[in-house]
Symmetry: D2
Subunit: 218 residues, 4 copies
Amino acid sequence: MGFCAEQLERHAALWHSMLTHPFLIATRDGTIADERFARWMRQDYLFVEAAIPFIAALVPKAPRAHWRPLAGAITALEKELELFEGRARVVGVELRGTPPSFVAHAYIQFLLATALRAGYAEAFTLLYAAEKAYHESWKVVRSGLEETSPWQPFVENWAGSAFAEYVGWLEGELDRLAAAAGEAERERMAETIALTVRYEIAFWQMALTDESWPGLEE
Amino acid sequence: MGFCAEQLERHAALWHSMLTHPFLIATRDGTIADERFARWMRQDYLFVEAAIPFIAALVPKAPRAHWRPLAGAITALEKELELFEGRARVVGVELRGTPPSFVAHAYIQFLLATALRAGYAEAFTLLYAAEKAYHESWKVVRSGLEETSPWQPFVENWAGSAFAEYVGWLEGELDRLAAAAGEAERERMAETIALTVRYEIAFWQMALTDESWPGLEE
Amino acid sequence: MGFCAEQLERHAALWHSMLTHPFLIATRDGTIADERFARWMRQDYLFVEAAIPFIAALVPKAPRAHWRPLAGAITALEKELELFEGRARVVGVELRGTPPSFVAHAYIQFLLATALRAGYAEAFTLLYAAEKAYHESWKVVRSGLEETSPWQPFVENWAGSAFAEYVGWLEGELDRLAAAAGEAERERMAETIALTVRYEIAFWQMALTDESWPGLEE
Amino acid sequence: MGFCAEQLERHAALWHSMLTHPFLIATRDGTIADERFARWMRQDYLFVEAAIPFIAALVPKAPRAHWRPLAGAITALEKELELFEGRARVVGVELRGTPPSFVAHAYIQFLLATALRAGYAEAFTLLYAAEKAYHESWKVVRSGLEETSPWQPFVENWAGSAFAEYVGWLEGELDRLAAAAGEAERERMAETIALTVRYEIAFWQMALTDESWPGLEE
């Protein structure tokens, strides 16, 4: 069993918490409140934007063969931003001008700190875990979302076959990196997966509840 | 008016929220629950430890004249860790083995991401704001804490004259850096102060309430 | 007068040394020895490749509006590598497998250290200076190169109008960054220009003479 | 056989070139020209200074147990700078105001780029190789230097027992890091040793000959 499969099994309870999160279930069932979905859109727009410098910061640490795929991932993120902008226009949500929620700010710091501080295998693990989380989360949404939902383009983007192929590539490469890593590094990689899923859950929770910073009423 | 004084005025409401936080007031009044203070000790121990790589990461960006003071700050942090260890022994708290709370993890990422990504003046701003926040917060505690409290050594450490001198040095240097910075950089520095105070408030709030990660029961 | 024009004037003697370097003159006149040109091709191929992580490392420090142009610069470098590969096939030069010369290794370290350590304006200065140097150097070659020379595609690439436009964009942005910078930062930016031109000259000199590491015969 | 012993054997020819370099031999024999030794002092003073941010940049990547020894190494470098200053006063050399030679500038970029870009084991390898090189080089000098030489304090510093102990610690830790590393990482570590020795040789060569930048007469 490869590293990724092994880790999904090891952290099955966390993955389950994520994939059954009330935000995802309500989105799938079409019962999510507009304002909650709008909150997710505004905050995730900030997150997707921040993923661009995150991936760029990986390149100087990456093996040569990863430079083009990483550049491709940046291009895909620019397209994702346009997807958000298009959806926001359709449903009349203003994407710009919202400051990051505590959780969004924190998750973005985790991205950047990991890319800049950790070794490549560890930082690449975060990329895999976040993309895998999105792929699986939106497959949950796809399983029940009405054909006519305005959120279908999100489903197509993250649950679709192009993204599946990208996640498959990430998985294969991460398995290879883990096989080549020493024991201590592999353990840090495993921790990075658990941390990333925890941040993902925190993000859905924030979308469901509020954008506040702890101890501050806003 | 220097940059620091200007920013303290500008963000007076945030500073007020921090300095009147229930955790500080209860600690000052001797009514803080042991478990809450222990939570703060365990989590702040992790934070102080993480401040060492944060400061080390500033050195390659710092002007030559800052290298020694920054090295001195690292030495002071090692002593702070010993202070925690001593206090923990006295009150029978186990410091090690606790995973970081969500807020502690997030704040640590903010430290590291800022040190590694931002320019020096911006990253130095975070150092100033966090140390100034500690100095002022523990002066609040000092104003009412009983002489015999086991937390007096924390008061002496952060509200005492050696720390005051250090914070004064940080303030003078930050004023100089801000005066030499361009407008856009100075605005990012101002934002860093507001963000740091928000993370400080979040930290006190976490100490008062819980170590949980949003969306996960623990 | 903008920062760039000012610096070109200030460092006119260095620019002159570069633009009259015997390697460039001999290439322009068609008298360059094949082996010398091949040496340049092999070493510059390594340098162009290393410029990709250099530019990627700028992105996390860059203002949002620069992310797309920087991503475009990476794409352009991938095409430059193909240009080298195509020319190498035409003239029967083996590009791969050559270790970096001392000068190439050193220049690459300068790129990476600057991108990772310096603030954005300073690191962007290096990018401008290196691209401007290439543009002007190949305009020297263009001024005398025979129409049928196998090196015409290099001329078209770096002395052509698309590259001129890119260098013009870099210049405009650098002027803006310098205008927004404080005095100390602007002085570091000025030094970065001088250093970059010195590395460029060292590179032409290495191409003309030898790939050796000082003190080692190879 | 540990990694270090293995690499010393593998790169025996390079180590031999370094340890028999004419600069070292002439220094040992007391026949080194004053101006050449002064050149080395001025340039190495710059290099030792740059080693401080290099080591500081390792801390955020280092395991916890390395933070104190690395902080200690920074303190030792500050003392080395004072050693240079003391020797310079004795022999009437002006240390300050000299710009870095090409080789010194390049080697410093190699330090910083490696600390900021590479994983910890690879960057730590550079530290080991440079310190080991100094230890062995000055043992060569010690083997013949007159008791009354003004350079005896350099010998005592780098060939003495405290430094030997430090190098022994570096060696033990590097052996452990190499044993824990994957194959590809260990190969990059091995390359880092070879590169560092090449830079060391280049540095002695520069001290012996000139501070010039290739292609520029100065």
